[in-house]
Symmetry: C2
Subunit: 385 residues, 2 copies
């Protein structure tokens, strides 16, 4: 059900030829509830696509009526013409829905530099067909329409006493913090004001999507959006809502990790004993971005030397000669030297757990990443994206 699991939302996914395969490529999600609250976080890349530039303006007042998303073209670095395309997309949607264009978010994903007149025509066609197809059961179709190199749609639902959060996500590569090549739309019928929605979204993304770092590359088009209909009539406790939203975001983030381009291992890097959470994140990320470590995992090699070489490049507080490193539960390095034999480690399973104990404090953080494989190189070299 994804974005239509919560009450007060309609959605659609339609095909207008942006994808050469003929698959669905435009999604529309509309808030029909008593509340019209929206919150969003955006890529921190300075090279932002036109839909990001537009959506950052729309979100300013916390009011969102609808969101339109297309795959098959990023509309990034397409100049003033591209920005007008985004603007027209919002205007056409608003006109058909009888709302203000300034309350319509737009997301695009696909090849950077794609956004000509043909693209514009198809997107506007998609808006028309999408609005006509809106239904309270449209969540599944919408989740299919935002897929690019994804091998499967990503959907999640969390239900609490009387209220629901549902979401859809797309993303299969270029997954990096400050967001990634991910588009996520989350809806809820809980009753939240704009400030509450924004705070909960930031709290949840900080420990979920922002800690997913598939290949260290940050996209130009990423956006995570939360739409609030209030249709349940229930106003949950702020912490309870944030916890439920975090659970949903972690579920979607794990689905993104599990479908990362060409990956053969889903790697959980758990850093404990850090002086601060920031240190733990920094250390985890340095490992997640180390190509030699990632290639070693592909080769089922518990190469702890590459872990230490990676964390040694950071300025986090620790003594490189007093760090413990475990691979899938086997401590292979302690106190700056070898511990258990490497051949005790079984790296055959897709799920891989690296535990790094910095032994200086009580803070911890977990980073999700993938291995570096032949298929990753193939998928990112054999065609343009």
């Amino acid at each position: 059900m994804s974005v239509t699991a919560a009450q007060g939302f309609e959605a659609a996914g339609v095909a207008v030829g942006l994808k050469s395969t003929g698959a669905k490529d435009v999604a529309v999600v509309v808030n029909r509830g008593p509340r019209k609250v929206g919150a969003a976080v955006f890529t921190t890349n300075r090279a932002k696509a036109n839909p990001i530039l537009w959506s950052q303006q729309v979100i300013g007042d916390g009011v969102v009526e609808a969101i339109v998303l297309n795959s098959g073209g990023a509309n990034c670095f397409t100049g003033p013409f591209g920005f007008q395309t985004t603007h027209q997309t919002a205007e056409k949607t608003a006109e058909l829905l009888g709302v203000s264009a300034g309350d319509v978010l737009v997301c695009s994903t696909g090849l950077i530099g794609t956004g000509d007149e043909v693209f514009r025509g198809k997107v506007l066609d998609g808006v028309e067909k999408g609005v006509a197809a809106l239904s309270a059961d449209g969540g599944e179709a919408a989740s299919l329409a935002i897929m690019t190199t994804d091998s499967r749609p990503k959907r999640a639902v969390v239900t609490r006493d009387g209220w629901t959060i549902g979401g859809m996500a797309k993303g299969a590569g270029m997954l990096a913090p400050g967001l990634a090549t991910m588009l996520v739309v989350i809806t809820t019928d809980a009753d939240l004001d704009a400030a509450g929605a924004d705070a909960a979204l930031r709290q949840a993304t900080r420990v979920s999507f922002d800690r997913l770092d598939s290949d260290g590359c940050m996209s130009t088009n990423d956006q995570v959006t939360l739409l609030v209909s209030g249709a349940s009539g229930i106003r949950p406790d702020g912490d309870a809502f944030a916890a439920a939203l975090t659970e949903l975001c972690l579920d979607l983030a794990a689905q993104l990790q599990g479908d990362a381009e060409g990956a053969s291992h889903d790697i959980t890097i758990e850093v404990i004993g850090a002086a601060s959470e920031d240190d733990a994140v920094t250390v985890g990320r340095s490992v997640a971005r180390n190509n030699l470590f990632k290639a070693a995992i592909f080769g089922n090699d518990p190469n702890w030397g590459r872990v230490l070489a990676a964390i040694g490049t950071t300025e986090a507080a620790f003594d490189p000669y007093d760090v413990d490193v475990s691979f899938n539960g086997v401590r292979v390095c302690t106190a700056g030297g070898p511990d258990r034999p490497r051949d005790e480690v079984d790296l055959a399973p897709r799920a891989t757990h690296i535990l790094i104990d910095l032994r200086v404090g009580d803070a911890a953080a977990t980073i999700l990443t993938n291995d570096l494989t032949h298929d990753y190189v193939h998928e990112n070299s054999a065609y343009s994206s």
Copy 2:
């Protein structure tokens, strides 16, 4: 001739079984000149190998009599036993040469965690055999002994009026700034004092080895050493010497780039129009470390969108919508949009030139890197290193 091209040096390369292939694996270089000056730069990785920890102490007074280098084991994270191995290596060399152990540098390269009693025995054997084999023609043998995954030795000589600089290098992966998996020994018969040698070496490495970034990974064992014999009796102008040394270092850096593990393209990223040299370096490095860009080059795809997505992650001064990007002389992106058609770009040659004009100032810098290939993944996953 490499390290024996300059007068006043003897060298040797011998095989003692550290490499399973039976190839040479221990090199010794001795300064026989009137000057005994040494300067060195080390990896900035906090996870430093034992020979780095030792050599950093030795270099303090600027006096160096000899340097011993082994391949086949990094002696990194091998605990106090490993440090004693390094210490004994220097002591044995000193004893045989009749000098002080505190004037003997040691370098090791190979697998992290390797450094047991067998390793120690072989290295000490190598010192004995190496010192016995020292000769004024030993530069070539020494350059072979330091090779690991290198497919060929790296040697360079620069001659000026009456004085010479020669060098050898090893390194084929993990090439990253703040040094890389590179060991470099440079010798000169020019007459320099310790301060002059240190200043020239830092000036030269800053724009050569420090701008070579093959895969973004920084090693634990890297060291670039300059030994000064003064045997020519000529004291060159400081700038002239630094220029000649830079020429030699750039030559060796290009050889390292050209032999990077699995690479099919040598990529020169030239950043111009920057507000500062630091900005230019930051921007160039962000592209050099972007896996999606590197995979695109492997696929002969002039994917300028990935260049902009990479530089957009930096805080350098520029407007992402006013940047020009050229691939091999064809400007494919200007002013935040497409320029010449992608199919005008020929990426078939190994030598690849990316020109990024930030259009905000006059500073420039060039970063050398390689593409991300199937062979890179294979070489770094199929065996431990």
